[in-house]
C-alpha cells in the first residue's frame, strides 16, 4: 500500500479525475441544456431525436418573454423583494443581536432561549395565520407582505449576537465615556466592525428570497405582483408546449443568481458553513 507500483497510482489518479468530471457533468448538463434550448428556433427543442445544440442560435424567445409576457416586471418584483428583505432583515436582526449581546435588560437570557427554540417550528405552521393577518392589514399583493414577515429571522439574530459577543466590552465603555449613546455605538461602532458577517448574512438572505416559491405564491395573487418563480410556474401551465420559451424564462431566473454567486461565493459559502457547523 505504501509502495504502490507507479502505474496503479497513475490509474487511481486518473479514475479520481474521471469521477470528479462525471460528477461535474451530472451537475451541469441540465443547465447546459437549459441554455442551449433557450436559443433554439421554435419547435427544435421538442424534436426527436433530441438535439443538444441549436442549429441556428436565436435570441427571439428572450425578446418575446420580455415584451409579450412582461417578464421585466417579474424580474423587478423579485429584485425589489430580495433587496428589501435582505436590507430590512440585516437592520432589524442586527439591532436585536446588539440588544441580546450588549444590553442588560430583565429576562434577556430566557428570552433568547425561547427565541432559539422557535427555530424548530416550520414555516408552514405560521403561514396560515400570517396570511390572514396580512389580509386584514390589506398587505396581500404588496411588497410589504413579503418583506415584513421575511425580515424576522432567528438564525440571523443568533449569528449577529455571536459575532457581537466576540467584540470586547472595553470598546463600548470607551465610546460611552466619550458620550456616545446606544444608538451611536450600534450604528457607528458595531455595524462597521461586523461588515463581514453582515455581508454573508445579506447575501444568504438575498439568494433565499430570490429563490423562495411557496410564500410569494400565496401572497402574490395579482399577475403584476408575481415574482420570477411564481411567474415561471404559471407560464408552465399556459405555455408548456413552448419549450424554448420556457427555457429562456428559466435562464433569466437562474442566471442572475449564478452570477451573484460566482462573484461573491466566498461570503455565500461561509454562510452555509456557519449554518452547517453551528452548535
Amino acid at each position: 500500500m505504501i509502495h504502490w507500483p507507479r502505474w496503479r497510482k497513475r490509474l487511481a489518479v486518473a479514475a479520481l479525475h474521471l469521477l470528479a468530471f462525471l460528477l461535474a457533468l451530472w451537475a451541469c448538463v441540465p443547465f447546459v441544456w437549459m441554455l442551449s434550448a433557450s436559443t433554439m428556433p421554435a419547435g427544435e427543442a421538442s424534436q426527436f431525436p433530441p438535439r443538444l445544440f441549436p442549429s441556428s442560435p436565436t435570441l427571439a424567445h428572450y425578446s418575446t418573454l420580455l415584451d409579450r409576457l412582461s417578464l421585466a416586471r417579474y424580474f423587478l418584483n423579485s429584485l425589489v423583494l430580495a433587496i428589501g428583505v435582505s436590507l430590512a432583515s440585516l437592520l432589524v436582526n442586527s439591532m436585536a443581536g446588539y440588544a441580546f449581546s450588549k444590553l442588560a435588560f430583565p429576562g434577556r437570557r430566557p428570552l433568547f432561549t425561547v427565541l432559539l427554540s422557535t427555530m424548530i417550528i416550520p414555516g408552514q405552521v405560521t403561514m396560515l395565520p400570517v396570511f390572514l393577518l396580512l389580509k386584514h392589514l390589506h398587505l396581500l399583493n404588496s411588497y410589504l407582505g413579503i418583506i415584513l414577515p421575511g425580515m424576522a429571522s432567528v438564525f440571523a439574530v443568533y449569528l449577529v449576537k455571536q459575532y457581537f459577543d466576540a467584540l470586547p466590552d472595553s470598546l463600548l465603555e470607551a465610546a460611552r465615556l466619550d458620550g456616545a449613546g446606544d444608538w451611536a455605538i450600534y450604528w457607528r461602532i458595531m455595524l462597521p466592525l461586523s461588515r463581514p458577517i453582515l455581508a454573508t448574512l445579506g447575501l444568504f438572505t438575498f439568494v433565499g428570497t430570490w429563490n423562495d416559491f411557496l410564500w410569494p405564491l400565496i401572497v402574490m395573487t395579482r399577475e403584476d405582483m408575481y415574482t420570477l418563480p411564481v411567474a415561471l410556474a404559471t407560464l408552465m401551465g399556459e405555455h408548456a408546449q413552448d419549450v424554448e420559451l420556457m427555457m429562456a424564462g428559466c435562464v433569466l431566473t437562474v442566471l442572475p443568481i449564478v452570477i451573484v454567486f460566482l462573484l461573491l461565493q466566498r461570503h455565500y459559502l461561509r454562510g452555509i458553513l456557519i449554518g452547517g457547523l453551528r452548535e
Partner: protein
Amino acid sequence: MPALVTLALFFFLPVLAAFLMSLTDFDIYCLADVRRARFVLFGQYIRLLQDPLFWRATLNTAYFVLVGGPLTILLALMASLILNSERLRGARFFRLAVFLPVITNMVAVAVTWRYLYHPHFGLFNFFLRKVGIGPVDWLGDPRFAMPAIILLAIWKNFGYHTLIFLAGLQTIPEDLYSAARLDGASWLQQHLHVTLPLLSRTLGFVTVITGIGYLQLFAEPYVMTQGGPLNATLSLVLYLYQQGFRWWRMGYSASVAFVLFAFMLAIGSASFLRRRRESA
C-alpha cells in the same frame, strides 16, 4: 426591539393562532367574517385520520424522505471524498460545478427537468434508449413519478451536503491517515475506520437537516406533476397548500401543518436524544 416585535407578530402569535385555528372549522365563509368559525376541538384531526388523501400524502412524503434522504447523503459523502483528495487538480472548479444546482431556483430547475423527463424528446429517455431501455413515462406513470422526483432532489441538494462534509473532512488530522497507512489499511479501511467515526457528528447534523428539509417537499411536485399521477406525488405540504389556499379549508390545513410539525419534532428530538446518550 423591532426584531422582537416582528418576531412576535409574525411568529409567536401565528403559532398560537394556527393551533387555535386547527381546532376550528375555519373555511372560506370565515375569511369574510372570523366569527363564523366554530370550535370543533380535535374534530379536524379526527377527520384527518380518516382522510385517505392525507394518508397518501404522508406515505408519499415518507417515501421521499426515507429513500431520497439516504441516497442524497450517500452521494454527497462519496462526492466529498473525491473532491477532498489532494491529488485532484482543479478541485475548486469541481466544487463550484457541484454547487451550482444548490443555489439555483427550484421552480426553474423543476421546469427544466420536466422536459428532461419528457417521454418523447427528453434526454433521459434518449440515453436510456441508447442502452436499450425504455421509453419510460417518468412523470406520467405512478410507479416512476416519485423516483423521478427523488432523482431531481438528489441532483439539486447533494452539493450542499458535499460542502458540509468537505468542511468536516478538513477537521480530520492528516496524521491519522498516515498512521492507518503504516498499519497497512487499505483505502476502504482508512475511510471505514478513520473518516466515518470522525465524521459522525457532521453526519448526524446532515441527517437531521435532510430529514427536516425533505419533509417539506413542495415545489417539485407542484411544478412537475401537481401531485399526480393518481396522487403518486402528493406531498404533505402540497396537500396543506391545496386544502388551505385553494379550497380555503384553513382549519383543516392548519391541522395538517401541526402533523408536519410533529414529524419534524420527532426527527429533531431523536437526534437530540442520541447526542445526549453519546455525551453521557
